[in-house]
């Protein structure tokens, strides 16, 4: 199944290649695992030399979601995510994020994942639950999203000005 996030009009903060402020994570699937190799610069820091914990959580969320897609389960939304941090993620250091499915039924998928240094040390881990969305549901959301984009096209930076 193709990854719905690879569609040309998708602007996903985690994986879309065209999002200028996104993480641009690229994933590959091998057997039951989905993984991404990356290194983040100072734009994503909290303390100097340390990647923001929220960004770490975002990477894990994206990795788990990609595991869902790559296992042929279609589109899904995160409904629960538990992140645990073992060590600060350092800026400009190679890391790998790995996700896999724990269990799945027709409605919910449970996945787990971790981020580790290229050398193997564990940085953070997560478990998450994902609610499956039908193709019809995704199409409805895309329609709403495109409608909103069109509304904002005439505004500077695409931001809707309130009270005008």
């Amino acid at each position: 199944m193709s990854n719905p996030k690879n569609a040309v009009d998708i602007n996903c903060f985690g994986c879309a290649p065209k999002n200028p402020i996104g993480l641009k994570l690229e994933f590959e699937a091998v057997h039951r695992q989905c993984s991404s190799r990356f290194s983040l610069g100072p734009d994503y820091e909290s303390y100097p030399g340390v990647i923001h914990g929220g960004i770490v959580a975002t990477i894990l969320d994206e990795t788990l979601a990609q595991a869902v897609y790559h296992h042929g389960n279609g589109s899904a939304f995160t409904v629960g995510l538990r992140v645990r941090y073992g060590h600060p993620m350092e800026t400009n250091i190679p890391h790998v994020a790995i996700g896999e499915i724990i269990r799945a039924d027709s409605t919910l998928i449970r996945a787990s994942g971790r981020i580790q240094r290229d050398t193997g040390e564990l940085i953070a881990a997560a478990v998450g639950s994902f609610y499956l969305v039908s193709a019809k549901g995704m199409e409805a959301m895309r329609s709403i999203s495109l409608e909103r984009c069109r509304d904002h096209l005439h505004e500077p930076n695409g931001v809707k000005m309130r009270g005008k």
């Binding site: 645990r84 941090y85 073992g86 971790r114 564990l122 940085i123 881990a125």
Partner: protein, 83 residues
């Protein structure tokens, strides 16, 4: 499944130490090769082994291997929730 045996085995493997170095009185902080990354790895392995989910506080409140074992036993004794 023998809780103590499994926990000792996981700690031993993760830290690269002998099981004979472990007992319920040993403090995690005193273990060779221990680090925050290793603690998280041990927790994840124990959760997977027993199909439980440990609270975040365990990382900070539990000091000895015996306390950790008790917490795992407590969670294992819980009646599974059914929706």
């Amino acid at each position: 499944m023998d809780v103590q045996k499994t926990i000792y085995s996981i700690i031993s493997q993760q830290l690269g130490i002998e099981i004979s170095q472990l007992n319920s009185e040993v403090h995690f902080r005193s273990l060779p090769n221990i680090s925050s990354m290793k603690v998280l790895q041990i927790i994840l392995e124990v959760e997977r082994a027993f199909d439980i989910e440990l609270d975040d506080e365990v990382t900070f409140r539990v000091e000895t291997i015996g306390q950790f074992e008790s917490e795992v036993e407590r969670l294992r004794a819980r009646i599974p929730e059914h929706i």
